[in-house]
Structure formats: structure tokens, C-alpha cells
Symmetry: C2
Subunit: 137 residues, 2 copies
């Protein structure tokens, strides 16, 4: 279809926000290629991310902008923003220090499904910081 093809082949950045005004953003470590987390952005947080060079998301639970690292200090410096074919998903290639997940791990993806069960997980990473220290007032 013509509209789809335009979005796919165009060099115009036309991010497609969903009915709630949000787009999925994947933060990927620019150095290691590890996927660190996924979150959502609205138009405001995306504009702020582009302008500031630091990742700013939109918290669905708190209904407000969420500057990554504001509380924990674990900011994400955005090196590059990629968009997918239908422009409804973004990758942020980011430079980070330790601990991008609020649970204490470097990545939110610290568990993998064990083979043959389909029900049980195993840890594939170790915590890199103490969230109680990082998030205390």
C-alpha cells in the first residue's frame, strides 16, 4: 500500500505513536550490543531525548516524564536513534555505566527460560549494584 511504502522507504522521521500517544523504545548498549531495557516514549519525551542527548521516557504507571537516572544516577547517553520499517518502534543506542535495571542488574533481561520446561527461569547475570543504596533518599 502506498502509505505503508512511503513510511518504509522514506527518510522522513514520522514516529507512529499508539492510541495512548506512546511508542516503544529499546535501550541497547552501544558498546556491547546487549539490550538493557524497554520503555515507552511520548512525543515530549522523545523530543527531550533528541534535544538533551539523554534518554527520557514516559512512565505509564506514574503518567509523567521519566528522566532515566534522575534518581539512581544511572543515566543513558544516547549515541544514535534507530527506527523500524513501520516507524512504530525505536532503538536507542546508549552509553551507560553500571546498573540499568532498578532490580540491581546491568540489564532488565537477567533471566532466561530453561529449556525443556517452558515454565522455569534461570538467572543469567549477577547484580552489579545495590538498588537500596541507589534509590534511597
Amino acid at each position: 500500500m502506498a502509505v505503508e511504502k512511503k513510511i518504509e522507504e522514506s527518510l522522513e522521521f514520522t514516529p507512529r505513536f499508539d492510541d495512548d500517544g506512546l511508542i516503544t523504545a529499546i535501550a541497547q548498549d552501544a558498546e556491547t550490543g546487549n539490550i538493557l531495557m524497554t520503555a515507552y516514549m511520548n512525543a515530549g519525551s522523545l523530543a527531550l531525548t533528541i534535544r538533551s542527548g539523554n534518554a527520557v521516557y514516559f512512565s505509564r504507571s506514574r503518567r509523567k516524564l521519566w528522566k532515566k537516572g534522575q534518581q539512581s544516577g544511572h543515566v543513558q547517553k544516547v549515541e544514535q536513534i534507530l527506527v523500524d520499517c513501520d516507524q512504530d518502534c525505536l532503538i536507542l543506542k546508549v552509553r551507560v555505566d553500571r546498573g540499568q535495571c532498578h532490580v540491581g542488574y546491568q540489564s532488565c533481561f537477567y533471566r532466561a527460560l530453561k529449556k525443556d520446561t517452558g515454565k522455569k527461569l534461570k538467572f543469567i547475570a549477577q547484580k552489579v549494584y545495590d538498588p537500596e543504596q541507589a534509590y534511597k533518599k
Copy 2:
């Protein structure tokens, strides 16, 4: 909160499907670390993926299971499934051959935002196959 903590620290695989019964799945090349695409799964497609070892998604537009590569031949062999802290997003580490995006690229993320404009994209990849050949009947 206790429920959240259980989900985060548990080794029980309890994927959290959204109100439409879907969960986001990111396909990542197991060899290169490149993110290839994102799609959705429902409980049925996830179970089929685990059982068969090949990625099966749920097409929101067609409202049905979508065996990746069924038409194009570009299947995804799933090596590992990772889940994030709140268990509402999956990573599929996949082995693939050429051309995972229906537009003709290896990855759906073939464009990056040009710096300083915030409006214009640039291509960062070249097509690796001809979709018209791959998708013709």
C-alpha cells in the same frame, strides 16, 4: 510491593500479557547481537515457539498466528528466550539466514535519525534480498 518483587526475583516464568493478550517480543541475532525486529506474541504463539524452536508471532493486523518465514522462508531458530524484570517483554535470541525484514533488509532497523535535525533519517544498511521475489506466490 510484594507482588512486583515476586515477579522480579522469581524463577517462575509468568509472562504478563497485556489487555489484548499480547506481549512484546524482540528478535535479536544470537550471533551479532543486532536487533532484527519486534513483534507480538499471544499465549498460543509463545507456547508454539517454545515447543517448535521456531519463532511464531501473533499478527495484530491479520489477527492470527504468524510463523516467521512461512512465506519468505526466512525462519528464526530460537536459541534462548529472555524475560525482563516485570515479565512484560521477551527477547528471542535467534539464528537466522539473510533478510528478516519484509522490506528487504536484514533488520527492520535500517534507518537512523540524523543528528541535529530530529526530522530526517539516513539509511544505515543495504537490502540483502529482493522482497518481490521472496514473497511472490
